[in-house]
């Protein structure tokens, strides 16, 4: 139903409540929608993606995708293990069509709860089966980008998963059948993120990489991004908000999120970034950052953020502390779970993952030297953070 028709129909239904037309007519046209200002080539894929793209990890409303598309977003990242995200996106595709205007990325993994990434020893048929499941949920005949997801989340068998013959064989068949177009790999650490992504870039098998990358990230990721640029591998950044901590700090004028985005996007080899969009307000707010240059005001905003959080933020993917603990406690993983607990509102997920760890942070309580703290190049208060993590993440005995 068109706007004019609605108003006419609703006016008939309206009563003499005295208020009449209440909103929309003037204000909607006065404010006008913000829109994407920049599209960049995604490596050699021939695709151009919106610099601000849609992270669909919390997607719960198909109308939000339609709004995002009308604001110019053309790339959306989902996964079978993001709850109903694929179903909701599929609902959008069925209802709104415009499939050719949307670049859809999903993952090689099982449907359901987070963490169902396929191991490297899975048969080719399993990879194909996973993608077939995604195609059905998404109501589409093809997927633009299929990811080998979350490399380095585990500490063993990562190379096997990255370069699995079965995975590569399955992708080749899917591509030939027109069901998948491009192969990608993502990593948010905590183990060997840059090493694994560098290997992916140099392998020649991947069209796109998606690293965790932000202004507080350690300096090796730009090296990987530069290498990707040389090989024509597209780069999409994620985790760009450095842990998504409280941002209500004085930032010198520029909104923190906009400054963080423009820092990432000032690298010409980064095609775009994905950020979780859960509602209309964040959609509009994030899209307003599109095309903004990185300025002195941006730097001021980031400096103030770093001042407030640097010693509290364990850099995703760093892992410098991993060999320092004589007890073999995986400090980086525990602090990442703590980040999910404290900053992402995913308490249960974090607690369950922590419960599955063999060595926990209770070992840190009696540690005198805290060699992990000495190993941290960023001065993070590791011991204090570990004690806090154990308290937050522990299942009661």
């Amino acid at each position: 139903m068109k706007r004019r028709e609605f108003i006419k129909t609703a006016a008939v239904a309206a009563t003499a409540s005295g208020l009449g037309l209440a909103s929309g007519e003037d204000s909607a046209s006065a404010s006008g929608p913000s829109s994407i200002q920049s599209y960049r080539p995604l490596g050699k894929t021939g695709l151009k993606i919106s610099d601000i793209s849609f992270g669909g990890g919390k997607l719960s409303s198909s109308s939000l995708v339609a709004r995002a598309m009308d604001m110019g977003i053309n790339y959306i990242d989902t996964a079978p293990d993001y709850g109903r995200s694929e179903n909701v996106l599929g609902e959008h595709i069925k209802k709104n069509g415009r499939r050719d205007k949307l670049i859809v990325a999903t993952k090689f993994c099982d449907y359901g709860f987070y963490g169902q990434h396929l191991a490297g020893d899975q048969p080719e048929s399993k990879y194909i089966q996973m993608v077939e499941g995604s195609l059905e949920r998404l109501n589409t005949d093809y997927i633009d980008v299929v990811f080998v997801h979350a490399m380095g989340e585990g500490s063993h068998g990562q190379e096997e998963r990255l370069l699995s013959e079965n995975m590569l064989g399955a992708f080749a068949k899917l591509k030939k059948a027109g069901k998948a177009r491009f192969l990608a790999v993502s990593s948010h650490g905590p183990n060997r993120m840059e090493e694994l992504l560098m290997k992916a870039v140099k392998s020649g098998h991947f069209d796109i990489i998606q690293p965790a990358h932000n202004f507080m990230q350690f300096p090796k990721v730009p090296d990987v991004i530069a290498e990707a640029g040389k090989h024509g591998v597209g780069v999409i950044a994620m985790k760009t908000l450095a842990g998504a901590k409280e941002t209500k700090i004085p930032t010198g004028g520029e909104p923190f999120e906009h400054a963080a985005f423009s820092w990432v996007l000032k690298n010409p080899n980064v095609a775009g970034l994905i950020v979780t969009i859960a509602n209309v307000r964040t959609l509009k707010y994030y899209v307003e950052a599109s095309g903004k240059p990185f300025t002195e005001r941006s730097q001021t905003s980031l400096d103030r953020y770093m001042l407030a959080h640097s010693a509290e933020y364990c850099r995703t993917g760093c892992g410098e502390c991993l060999d320092a603990c004589p007890e073999g406690v995986n400090v980086a993983s525990i602090l990442r779970h703590q980040m999910y607990f404290a900053d992402y509102g995913q308490e249960k997920r974090a607690m369950a993952a922590y419960a599955g760890m063999e060595k926990k942070a209770d070992a840190c309580a009696d540690c005198d030297g805290a060699p992990c703290q000495e190993a941290c190049p960023y001065g993070v208060h590791v011991k204090r953070r570990m004690n806090m993590a154990h308290k937050d993440l522990s299942f009661p005995a």
Binding site: I7, A22, R349
Partner: protein, 313 residues
């Protein structure tokens, strides 16, 4: 010199002390069936809720049962949360594959008997933050290594500590095996019955329809004469009238149009939203109720009148 009366009284009291101590001791040794039976009212049979074999997994040892007296032993720091919601008892068991070394269960299953479906729902609603909805039990969610759902008055949590590859299977088998009971949640009782899909009950903690204002929303899906639509309700923290005003601003801000109407004599708004379609809102007591998924405002208004009649009655 004979002792004074006061001295005699003091001596008599001293002599009585051993007798008092003996009486207290003997009383403490007396058999108290309420203590020794360990079968508090309503808890009997709780351990039988969980079978020894589920989905090809075997229970490790036997199920443990916690009551309000000792719940803190299992959920230290969180017991008060469950007690305040009407907690009755908790049954806990560990499950593993038959070929797994004993002593380290791959899965734990917690079944909270919350005495009433709405209490179970209260626990689920609070504990499902950050989790994703899934179709299990009456309402269910999943997250990394965990599935949680309600069935009747039971609130169930299944956690994986290993690969988690049988988590869904285990949770599904449990949901099927746990006893049925009173079906309806009071939160859903305000919705009209005709065409309401049993599998279409949802709870959305935040960002309902992409609007931050709409939180902790109960949603009921309908199918009538080939038309699919939804009714929803929630209790805002702010007075409903304030939320309605804020909603009008949000609708305007996102480019929608709203008109004031009456549904069965109660003021509300009809919204035309290019993306969400036609939807409507009104207030019933402390609640916001509404409907969405229509293409025809007249049909929407008719349903809203039905909804107001049911919810207001």
């Amino acid at each position: 010199m004979s002792p004074s009366l006061g001295t005699l009284a003091r001596v008599a009291l001293l002599l009585l002390l051993p007798l008092v101590a003996a009486a207290v001791y003997m009383d403490g040794q007396r058999y108290d069936p309420a203590v020794l039976r360990f079968d508090p009212s309503g808890v009997a049979g709780a351990s039988a809720l969980l079978a020894n074999q589920v989905a090809g997994l075997a229970m490790e040892g036997s199920a443990r049962v916690y009551t309000s007296d000792n719940l803190f032993e299992y959920v230290n720091g969180h017991a008060e949360f469950f007690l305040s919601l009407g907690f009755k008892c908790l049954t806990v068991a560990g499950y593993s594959s038959p070929d797994t070394a004993p002593g380290k269960p791959e899965y734990t299953v917690d079944v909270y008997d919350m005495a009433a479906p709405q209490n179970a729902f209260g626990a689920l609603a609070q504990e499902s933050a950050g989790m994703n909805p899934m179709n299990i039990g009456a309402i269910g969610y999943s997250s990394s290594r965990s599935v949680t759902f309600i069935k009747d008055k039971l609130y169930v949590k299944v956690d994986s500590f290993g690969t988690g590859d049988r988590l869904m299977e285990l949770a599904g088998a449990l949901a099927a095996a746990l006893p049925d009971g009173e079906e309806s949640l009071p939160q859903f009782a305000i919705f009209p019955v005709l065409g309401a899909l049993k599998s279409g009950r949802f709870y959305k903690r935040e960002d309902y329809m992409g609007l931050e204002l709409f939180r902790e929303v109960f949603e009921q899906e309908y199918e009538r004469e080939g038309l699919r639509f939804y009714a929803f309700a929630f209790t805002p923290q702010a007075p409903p009238e304030d939320l309605m005003r804020q909603a009008m601003e949000a609708i305007s801000d996102m480019g929608g149009q709203a008109v004031d109407v009456e549904f069965g004599g109660i003021r509300g708004i009809l919204v035309h939203d290019e993306y969400e379609g036609e939807w409507a809102l009104t207030t019933i007591k402390s609640k916001i109720v509404g409907a969405r998924g229509f293409s025809d405002p007249a049909q929407l208004k008719t349903f809203m009148e039905e909804l107001v009649g049911k919810a207001g009655g």
